[in-house]
Amino acid sequence: MNIIVCLKQVPDTETQIKIAPDGKSIVEDDIKWIMNPYDEFGVEEALRIKEKFGGEVTVVGLGPKRVTEAIRTALAMGADKGILITDDALEGSDSLATAKALTAAIKDLDYDIIFTGQRGIDDDLGLVGASVAEFLGIPHIALGIKVEIADDQSSVKVHRPVEGQTLVIESPLPVLITAQKGLNEPRYASLPGIMKAKKKPLEEKSLADLGVDASEFGEAARKLKIIELTPPPERKAGKIIEGETPQEKAAELAKLLHEEAKVL
């Protein structure tokens, strides 16, 4: 089984988001960049499948040079090789352009399964996985929390939680699966793993290397245009419920929820 995992870097979840003076981007100083948590589930699942069935895991990252760190992390976890798609012309690309670049890098590789995170925890769009599958002309299954590969390695069953139920979806290979929390517990890279990762192949590719036209990428080519970013609506601290005992406080709270907030 040859598996590809797409990954990106995102600001650590602890990050306080500050809007830049241009009003359209965020301040990136002091941000700690991490591998997108949902992509990490994809890396882990790829490694588990490889351990069971053999084959090779290739991670494909896209973004500035710093994304190398996330690729190295995946290599240290046990992935075999990495590809970084990096090009100044990619800066500001939207999901469609990102998916096009990933597709260009993946299409000539040998793969049975592709993993992406179910969404990036930065833009929260969740479009790239399905778009890569569409551009490659293969099926996708979103929100995988369990992946079962058939013994003959020709198909896969994926558990996909939706509102109030879990669907078990079967697909022939190759397939793209987007990883959801619950799929697995990602391993930590071991020290020997980190040492080995330094020697694993990591190839950088520009848009020209991928044979695509740079004018289809970047800020100017965005189809979804950002007009402005704003802080979330202010929420003011409200009332602290008074009362001598927990019972009195509970009674007062229930009364306010009924009479004032009108939600009971």
Partner: protein, 327 residues
């Protein structure tokens, strides 16, 4: 020139989902602001009787694609059918709910059509005749206003529980149009082989009108019983913080926050949750927030409309008794 607003209806087992009413209602408002027609699009098997109701919520037309291969939902079949309908009719705006189905379908469909897609929006506006959307990013730590450049239809999904539902008007009738379903079996690669129903019987978090949520302060999985009792009384879903999920007390599907579900109920009761930034990001658009926590300095109180500084193990059972007065 692309013309008209489309609202994709979502049904399960022949019943329209709540988010469908939200999307059709919002679609009506956008269609009015643009001075265009609203068309609802309903896919499924033996679902034609549901089309009339969509007219009551404001659809001028309802396109019905009725075929056994459209039940249950599969990405492959729905993408193929809707893409064909879009190409034949050229709508200007295409909306659906940001449910599990809507997020999946919108992602694949937007790639097939090669158009911009705004996921999980909390507001739509028409400015100078252009459709724009407001959507939380970084799990609500910032909001982005987005426009759709030279890209038709403008595609967007609406966060469940946010858009107001119109009063149904049974005197309004929509023109019902049967769509030709042209599906080649080759295009249908994925299939649903099993459906595992959740056992709790409680409403799912993203659809819930009320949520009772517990964090580290619950001290253990056995104590969620008191939250479940309160939740069952008021018809709420039960959520959890990441700390509780990572401790193995609650399933991953219950997690509210940046790496879990983003919820928007009318009432969110946070019990023993300190209010880490990642959790606040996931529930900050709730209409009324109640915090119950022993620690008066817990950050959650900064976001709460009503704060109770006390031991949740005293307050929650007492609250369960008190709410009975108002049910």
């Amino acid at each position: 020139m692309a013309q008209g607003v489309w609202a994709i209806a979502e049904q399960r087992d022949g019943e329209l989902r709540k988010v469908t009413y939200e999307v059709v209602s919002e679609g009506r408002r956008i269609a009015d602001a643009l001075g265009q027609e609203l068309t609802a699009v309903l896919l499924g098997s033996n679902i034609k009787d549901k089309a009339t109701e969509l007219g009551h919520y404001g659809a001028d037309k309802v396109i019905v694609a009725d075929d056994p291969r459209l039940d249950p939902y599969t990405t492959d079949a729905y993408t193929a059918v809707i893409a064909q309908l879009v190409e034949a009719n050229e709508p200007a705006v295409l909306l659906m709910g940001a449910s599990a189905q809507g997020k999946d379908l919108s992602a694949r469909l937007s790639a097939r059509l090669g158009v911009a897609m705004a996921q999980d929006c909390t507001a739509f506006q028409v400015e100078d005749g252009n459709f724009v959307a407001i959507r939380p990013i970084y799990a609500g730590k910032a909001y982005a206003k987005v426009a759709f450049d030279n890209s038709w239809p403008n595609m967007a999904t609406a966060r469940p529980n946010v858009m107001a539902v119109n009063e149904p008007d049974t005197s309004k009738t929509a023109e019902i149009i049967d769509a030709n379903v042209d599906l080649s079996d080759d295009a249908l690669k994925t299939k649903v082989v099993e459906v595992i129903k959740d056992e709790s019987g409680r409403i799912e978090l993203t659809e819930a009108d009320k949520i009772v949520s517990g964090g580290r302060g619950m001290k253990g999985p056995e104590n969620y019983k008191i939250l479940e009792e309160l939740a069952d009384l008021i018809g709420a879903a039960v959520g959890a913080s990441r700390a509780a999920v990572d401790a193995g007390w609650r399933p991953h599907t219950d997690q509210v926050g940046q790496t879990g579900k983003v919820v928007s109920p009318n009432l969110y009761i946070a019990c023993g949750i300190s209010g880490a930034i990642q959790h606040l990001a996931g529930m900050g658009t709730s209409k009324v927030i109640v915090a119950i926590n022993k620690d008066p300095d817990a950050p959650i109180f900064q976001k709460a409309d009503y704060g109770v500084v006390a031991d949740l193990f005293d307050v929650v059972p007492a609250l369960a008794e008190e709410v009975k007065k108002y049910l």
